[in-house]
């Protein structure tokens, strides 16, 4: 473990910081939220930048304050923190700059990440893959992982790099990615895929049941889907709708 500060961080240290940022939420807690995770991630850089003693302790303490953002987009902030800490270590800026940088960015980036990853990319890839289960079978699972993680991992690495190289200016670069508009398109794909899989289930159920009832069963299953949509939109709990549908189908299956 080095006790001599470095002028610039090595690739090895930067890689360690990135890999440790994957543990950002390991000790998520209600008071400081991701504070332990952030301090844990940037610690190798702080060890390289500051000599053992009060300077390093002070640097660690300023990253143990409240911190919370989206875990993927946090890579940009982690990179930005390293960028600021390098300048602080060189005496080019005061420590309050890095604290202000985190405070200013964590909220907006959390909203951006939640909207794109949690509310758009995840539902879209999940619904498309679930809809492809009838066609691809078990191969729908690796497809889901590849589709999701191509975007997730590439963006995570890119955001970290933007933070490292641009510091405060990363905001403009992130804005140029236009994630909200892409998210809206992905949500439409999710809805269309969900509708498609509902229709496939209904029609194939009718076809498998066969006989005179086949069109009726398919139509009934589709009607159940539409009714469920309306009920859930009117805030009837999902579980209630699911159990009622199962009960109705059980009765129909037992007596038809």
């Amino acid at each position: 473990m080095s006790t001599t500060p470095q002028a610039a961080l090595s690739f090895g240290v930067l890689l360690r910081v990135f890999l440790r940022s994957l543990f950002l939420q390991a000790s998520w807690n209600p008071k400081g939220m991701q504070n332990l995770g952030l301090a844990y991630a940037v610690y190798p850089a702080l060890m390289a930048l500051y000599p053992r003693g009060p300077a390093r302790e002070e640097a660690v303490r300023r990253h143990l304050v409240f911190f919370n953002t989206h875990p993927y987009v946090a890579a940009a902030i982690v990179g930005g923190v390293i960028n600021h800490e390098e300048r602080i270590a060189r005496g080019e800026e005061t420590p309050d700059k890095v604290v202000a940088f985190k405070a200013a960015l964590m909220g907006p980036l959390a909203a951006l990440g939640d909207g794109f990853f949690w509310l758009s990319l995840k539902p879209a890839t999940g619904a498309v893959s679930a809809a492809l289960v009838p066609l691809l079978g078990v191969w729908a699972v690796p497809l889901f992982l590849v589709l999701y993680n191509l975007v997730h991992l590439l963006l995570r690495v890119r955001l970290y790099w933007l933070g490292l190289t641009l510091g405060d200016r990363l905001v403009e670069a992130v804005a140029r990615a236009n994630l909200p508009a892409r998210g809206a398109r992905l949500r439409a794909v999710a809805a269309a895929s969900a509708g498609g899989v509902a229709a496939w289930l209904a029609v194939s159920f009718g076809a498998n049941a066969g006989g005179l009832y086949a069109p009726l069963l398919a139509a009934g299953c589709l009607a159940l889907g539409v009714a469920s949509y309306v009920l859930v939109s009117r805030r009837v709990p999902n579980y209630v709708v699911l159990y009622v549908a199962a009960g109705l189908a059980c009765v129909a299956g037992a007596f038809l």
Binding site: R56, A130, A188, A194
Partner: protein
């Protein structure tokens, strides 16, 4: 009925690993129901159960998201628990898995999503204690100890949810006599419940997609698929 303990152990191990991935490390979606349940099925020699349950629960929980401090239902625990129970249940019957088994497993174990949310909330008390230890250690100048606290936060998730999933796998063996005791009409009813529940889950997914014109897009998707499948069926009949 004989319990296959290797299945119980494998279920616990995979349940614990995906619980870690969901909350503490990477979050590359290995913990999503479609993946977690299918792999569970593969580990317990019943891919069909895992895939079917994974697809249904993926759709059912599609709209859930961990936003800020709000905790969503634990879709991973519901998926690993239900798929483990379905796999051991069909292993206990000695036959291949059926839609009736999938329905029974989902109806009995989908509530684990809420149990898991409660568990997540309780585990936050432990991580709050770790945060206090880390702050005190940093104040005292013991930075290595302060940083180590972050990793200690992961293991309760692995242990608690691994144990719960193993318990579900064990329960699957004990539910088998119950399934055998059901009258044939009820088993037929459970088989019909499968496509009905999957349709409902898909409708919930469309609603949970957060799309601005979700009914329009879902309707378009349904229309295209209906026409395509009907055309294929008619061509096959010729």
């Amino acid at each position: 009925m004989s319990v296959v303990w290797t299945h119980v152990a494998l279920a616990g191990l995979w349940g614990g690993l995906v619980a870690l991935e969901r909350k503490a490390f990477l979050q590359a979606m290995l913990s999503r129901p479609l993946v977690a349940a299918t792999v569970m099925g593969a580990l317990l020699d019943d891919v069909a159960s895992g895939l079917a349950i994974g697809m249904l629960l993926e759709l059912f929980f599609l709209g859930t998201a961990n936003l800020g401090a709000a905790l969503p239902e634990n879709d991973t625990l519901a998926a690993t628990g239900a798929s483990a129970a379905a796999a051991t249940l069909s292993a206990a019957t000695g036959a291949s898995s059926t839609p009736a088994i999938w329905s029974l497993a989902v109806l009995l174990f989908i509530g684990l999503g809420r149990v898991g949310r409660r568990g997540d909330r309780l585990l936050e008390g432990y991580t709050a204690r770790l945060a206090r230890v880390a702050l005190a250690s940093a104040e005292a100048g013991n930075l290595t100890r302060a940083m180590r606290q972050n990793l200690w936060g992961m293991w309760p998730h692995f242990a608690v949810y691994g144990a719960l999933t193993a318990l579900c796998a064990l329960l699957g063996f004990f539910i088998e006599p119950l399934l055998q005791a059901l009258p044939p009409v009820v088993v037929r009813g459970l088989a019909w419940a499968w496509p009905a529940m999957a349709s409902v889950a898909a409708a919930i997914a469309a609603q949970g997609s957060h799309a601005r014109r979700a009914p329009l897009y879902a309707g378009l998707g349904a229309a295209v698929v209906t026409v395509s499948v009907v055309c294929v069926l008619l061509l096959e009949d010729r």
